[in-house]
């Protein structure tokens, strides 16, 4: 049962295609796991398609008068229909610490690096489109925890497999957890978990001895 969902504004920006790669990947993956949000997304996409392609007349009319598209039309009609769809969607599979995970389709072309890790924590850095943001797959072995930390900006965690708990809640697969910079938390996992995390600035650990671990903070997220 998924308890934490992206809000409607985020879903809409995802439908429009205006989020960064890392965020839109998280939204896509959540929707693949969550039928409620998938349904909302379908409706929003229809609705926004209608706005963009039926209602947007004024701007389009203005452009239409100034540009001649006939050459393009004729060149397109010289092409023959493509006989096959380009590829079959395979899913992305990752293996870490002897566990194999099948990831949502959005990750298919994004997982390519190897895992780095320390103790119970393994991280695979993924690509982001925006400078300061960091995106990772984070695997925590059963019984593992991340030292208490805050973040300078928001921290998004999409739980892909397993469970984790922090001071406030217990989270399960598909949960989409967006936290702002005002809070601190210490996620722990009893049974181990795999998450996709996006932070828009490097994390800083806040507590005592953990301060010494700050370089590890950068390693982990």
């Amino acid at each position: 049962m998924i308890n934490y969902h992206p809000n409607d504004d985020m879903l809409l920006e995802h439908a429009k295609g205006s989020l960064s790669l890392a965020m839109t990947t998280a939204l896509s993956a959540h929707c693949e796991l969550c039928s409620i949000c998938q349904e909302k997304l379908t409706t929003m996409t229809q609705q926004h398609a209608h706005i963009a392609l039926i209602e947007e007349d004024a701007a389009a009319d203005e452009l239409e008068t100034s540009i001649d598209l006939d050459d393009m039309l004729n060149s397109i009609m010289l092409l023959t229909p493509s006989s096959t769809s380009e590829r079959l969607s395979q899913s992305a599979i990752v293996t870490v610490k002897g566990h194999e995970y099948q990831l949502p389709k959005a990750f298919r072309q994004q997982v390519r690096e190897t895992w780095n890790g320390l103790g119970k924590i393994s991280r695979m850095r993924l690509e982001t489109d925006s400078g300061d943001a960091r995106a990772s797959l984070l695997h925590i072995d059963a019984g593992g925890e991340i030292p208490e930390h805050t973040h300078q900006g928001t921290e998004l965690t999409l739980l892909l497999a397993g469970h984790f708990e922090d001071e406030f809640n217990r989270y399960g697969p598909g949960d989409f957890i967006l936290l702002d910079s005002d809070h601190q938390h210490t996620p722990k996992t009893e049974d181990g978990c795999l998450c996709y995390t996006v932070v828009d600035a490097p994390l800083r650990f806040t507590k005592g001895i953990s301060k010494l671990l700050n370089p590890i903070g950068e390693l982990i997220y």
């Binding site: 969902h5 409607d8 398609a49 209608h50 963009a52 392609l53 452009l63 229909p81 957890i177």
Partner: protein, 214 residues
């Protein structure tokens, strides 16, 4: 702790759900309906109708151009977006599945996805096309190859039981992998004859196969 995602902020889109699920085609600005768009696209898919495609093109191209201007800033890139999107509409019309969504949704999806990949290419020099993984395009599932091969293999066990003329055509197509046109020239018979012998041969093979299953 604040979980800052919230369901309480109802966007205008969220409020619009219910309204939107009702038929939304009260065209104010244009006299073409959703149903007509669908008919035209299906006619492009089935008969490569140039006039219907030209209709769709003149309807959608300016809107794609306007969308491209907003997102991509330059005229050249916006034109590329029109070209890529409308090319897909022409070459992939047969993949459009009317049961899965409206024509506008299909074209919007293609446009948004191409635009996302173009932006990545321009801004980050990425050549990949992640967009179709992120937003799958609804299309008809094409026939599944492995099953076809299995069926073909099963059918071919019985090819010897066909009358010689049908056997010749079926072998040519499925074993030598010749095209129907190549076979027609090779055997010096009209293309129509190749087609009808092939059809008869396959029908016969299927009935043989069914008999063997009884």
């Amino acid at each position: 702790m604040q979980n800052i995602q919230s369901q309480r902020s109802q966007s205008r889109y969220a409020k619009g759900y219910v309204l939107y699920n009702k038929p939304y085609m009260e065209e104010k600005n244009s006299d073409i309906t959703t149903e007509q768009l669908k008919e035209k696209l299906i006619s492009v898919a089935n008969s490569r109708s140039r006039s219907d495609y030209a209709m769709l093109f003149s309807y959608f191209a300016p809107k794609i151009l306007a969308f491209g201007h907003q997102r991509l800033s330059t005229q050249g890139l916006a034109m590329d977006l029109v070209q890529e999107t409308m090319t897909a509409v022409w070459t992939k019309a047969h993949l459009f599945d009317a049961d899965k969504g409206a024509v506008t949704t299909w074209i919007f999806t293609i446009m948004r996805n191409r635009c996302f990949d173009m932006l990545r290419k321009v801004q980050h020099n990425r050549e990949d096309t992640v967009s179709d993984d992120i937003w799958p395009i609804f299309e008809t599932a094409e026939h599944v190859e492995p099953e076809d091969h299995m069926l073909t293999n099963k059918l071919m066990k019985h090819v010897d039981e066909l009358p010689p003329l049908q056997q010749q055509i079926v072998r040519g197509i499925y074993l030598q992998e010749l095209s129907q046109q190549e076979l027609a020239s090779k055997l010096n018979v009209p293309l129509g004859t190749v087609k009808s012998r092939l059809r008869l041969g396959l029908v016969k093979l299927r009935s043989i196969l069914e008999k063997h299953h009884d």
